[in-house]
Symmetry: D2
Subunit: 297 residues, 4 copies
């Protein structure tokens, strides 16, 4: 089928490729003319036959908001917009409302898979009405991985459900990565273990902890057994923070996910103000030897 695709960055570019490979006609728009198929949003709208389906794949936040606003201006009743970026699910209702007055439909799509999606397919978590989802199904069929539909695609619920499921996916991902990280650190700290890499590699088959992330860590350790070239400084992209915030709203205890989020915050601090306060306290009451800043390298 025909699809407009806005945003041809790392993800959107690959998705256009995969969709074209699947026989769809994709017209992509991006502000960078070297990758864009059309010079403007207006041109995109013009070139698509009504009723149009437009997939938005741009950074979450302001850029997504503005893009949806702009689309509300150039699209017409009967058209359909899909937000496939990492928007917070609370944005979806707002975006849907911005479009519904014009008679334009809205779907939120959580898309997982990163750079591997081009060849392996993307895990899809979708929110929207049954009719809207049915309409985009040919696109979803091409984007998703091979195998049973239910193993790589879910129509999770009404508008918002797709991004909510994707947010939880990423929150779980944070905690999984921390779990594997802690395991690595223990193996690396114990002199009995000849090669943490070999242990991680050996977990690939038959074990309870086998997973895609486990295999990726084995691969990363093969390339750099001491992780000597990698700093622990780690950004967080929003979903982890949102997951903990939504957990608080839902009164769901998430010690594992929260610990993972806080570990990322800590990784970006030169020195921890909390621990400076702890050190200052020890200094006050105990005459404990406190490391002075000048000595701490």
């Amino acid at each position: 089928m025909q699809l407009g695709l806005i945003g041809l960055g790392k993800m959107g570019f690959n998705m256009r490729e995969r969709l074209r490979g699947g026989g769809h006609e994709v017209i992509g728009y991006d502000p960078r003319p070297e990758v864009s198929d059309v010079p403007s949003l207006a041109a995109l709208a013009e070139q698509l036959e009504a009723p149009r389906v437009v997939w938005v794949m741009v950074p979450s936040g302001e850029i997504t908001r503005e893009t949806i606003e702009d689309l509300a201006g150039v699209l017409s009743s009967g058209d359909l917009v899909i937000d496939g970026g990492n928007s917070r699910y609370t944005e979806d209702g707002i975006h849907a409302k911005m479009l519904v007055d014009k008679g334009i439909g809205f779907i939120d799509a959580g898309v997982s898979g990163g750079v591997w999606g081009l060849t392996e397919g993307y895990g899809l978590m979708i929110g929207g009405s049954d009719d809207d989802v049915a309409r985009v199904m040919p696109i979803f069929e091409t984007l998703r991985p091979e195998g049973d539909l239910a193993d790589g695609f879910v129509h999770a619920g009404p508008v918002g459900a797709g991004h909510f499921a994707k947010m939880v996916h990423n929150g779980v991902e944070y905690a999984l990565m921390t779990a594997y990280g802690e395991g690595y650190e223990m193996l690396a700290a114990e002199p009995l273990i000849k090669s943490p890499q070999a242990v991680y590699q050996a977990w690939s088959n038959g074990t309870v902890v086998r997973s895609w992330l486990q295999q990726l860590l084995a691969k990363a350790l093969k390339e750099d057994p001491q992780l000597a070239d990698i700093s622990g400084y780690t950004e967080d992209s929003g979903e982890g923070r949102w997951t903990v915030e939504e957990a608080i709203r839902l009164r769901v205890p998430v010690p594992g996910i929260a610990a993972s989020l806080f570990a990322r915050f800590l990784s970006r601090q030169e020195d921890s103000p909390t621990m400076k306060a702890v050190a200052a306290l020890r200094n006050q009451f105990g005459g404990h030897a406190v490391q002075r800043v000048s000595k701490s390298g």
Copy 2:
């Protein structure tokens, strides 16, 4: 090759089956005559041709200790004992020493895979000398899963390294399960999500969080979508506790694994003494409404 196998419980029984299927001659001993091939340890030793290889697959702790002691009595110089149970790795050195005076070798083998191992093979993490490991290799080859050797087998280091790697494996497993549990709880708490099961199922392909445990949870939720028949009361089998203890010894911060362990402790408490103290405090300073025990059902 020929192997003595002590302990024909859930794990040992299946391993005998898989090994025999692989062409090995396995003589099993178990105190329950209905599953045992020989009437006693002494008979087992007698029936095996020297130099003997004996695999011990009994519960960790006292029973393993006593079995090794008994084996020191009936085996001879040149024989080899493998502890394939979930012994704490700190036991391995002690057990090796109990045997070395008699000229008997020792290997510790961490075995993962549970009831699935019979058909899929067992993930193996081995500690011991190069010569001893080479000698048992035909057995390991049959037990391990199909595919590359390095993907399901590791000679992790000297005596102790196998059980250490298995202990870390189980600690990581605790944290992974908690991560998936937290994700499930959030999906179940959010009304937008039609079916947490369907979301977990859809994570099977293409996503970052796909894993064996993820698929098992999808399967469990298919059988019982609300987990209505399952209590959260959860035992811990030792490795989780040991992992945190060893992390403390190694000064490795393991907030994720520790949170998972504490969650299991909590799951077995009728009411949390910590929270009773917190409630008592609130009652003291705030006249906060405190739920009396009689009301809390």
Copy 3:
């Protein structure tokens, strides 16, 4: 000085008492006629001499919002409103703006001390302009505890700073209570310890952990040494949740405060969905004995 006081619940009632004891003229309003000095907000405004100072001491959220709206209607330019309730600090800017158009000033006051404040005084954390704070100083002087001003009163910053400081105060309070709770649980679990109460009592002088909360817990344990009459079911009143949310906004790792908040969530669950998922997983892969719901009574 003259003060209007809205809300004569547990806190407001005591504050009126303490302020009158300090020589101030307090006109209290409460919807319950048996405690109210005036029949309505309008009557309150009428009875106060302009420029008026009105202290709002009502539950945070909608009731505070509506009260401020109502006050915007009955007060005049030059008047001053103080929100002494537990409003989220992000509300303060909104409330200030609702009043500033009418020329009415706004102060946010975090008030600590609970039922003990009547006799011991209230810890005060204030946000607002220097002029507004100076104007209310006689009231603050009476409410605050005896001793140095700086030991029980802080003008923490502009509008919002008072409630922010109070929110952090409560977040810290959560973590302190959990710390003492964990200590109590350990003492109660160890057979060597004759009386956890006696240990807590003995921490009152000379120790590093001595505090008001420590003494309150000693007192609570004296009244009920096993805490047998108290359920661990514990509400959270908002500030704990807000503290973690603001920590996330500020990228401040707060594992201690978050653990305390999650412990409260857990205390209110009949059974933990997270742990049900963990138990279901163990059931799937290990044939671990899983406690069925019917048995967990």
Copy 4:
């Protein structure tokens, strides 16, 4: 009464001073002749009238063990040894047994108060038999703070109970310090707050969080408002690690104390191996920008 005191370091030196001020005859021994009253342990034993009471105040671990061994050599039946250092409570039974064969009694004493103890008195947590404790009571009376006996002294139970109570005291102390540290970090991160120091100071009276540690942090912040001269690098002295280990043995969930312990481990790492693994994983699956070591300063 007469007391032998072994170890005249920071703690022992001050205790001798306080005890002499209380009218006791203290004969101190220390390997450093400039502070010692006698040249050797043997001389100490000789100079004390039988039956002797000897207080050991040396670093926990090997030095305490050796000192007790030496005392078993020079003391006689009817004498009494008190271990006032920070020994792990599991050592106490061993030490008592080393002495009991000679007819020498043993008491374990947890002593809190640090450098402030000289003037304010020491919080005391005692383990031992009723008779032994009664015998040393005059010494305890002088060491303990003024006020009610029960507020600064507890005979917590039989041998081991004193050090167990002190260990829990220190575990709680870890979590309290982290709580105040997290509160400080939040106040310091929020631009609305003019002075975190002033807020901490204002918590001294009337608030729920007031405590000795709170006042010490206010004092530390007064001396160095940004804690600019203090590194967050923080040692742990054993009790925190032991508390978590004992909590695991007792199946007591201690997320607050464990988080505090792990924060100390983290404070001493140049870079977190766990987070290096997390960063490596993100690099693998997402093409996320990973900070290379060379860039991370």
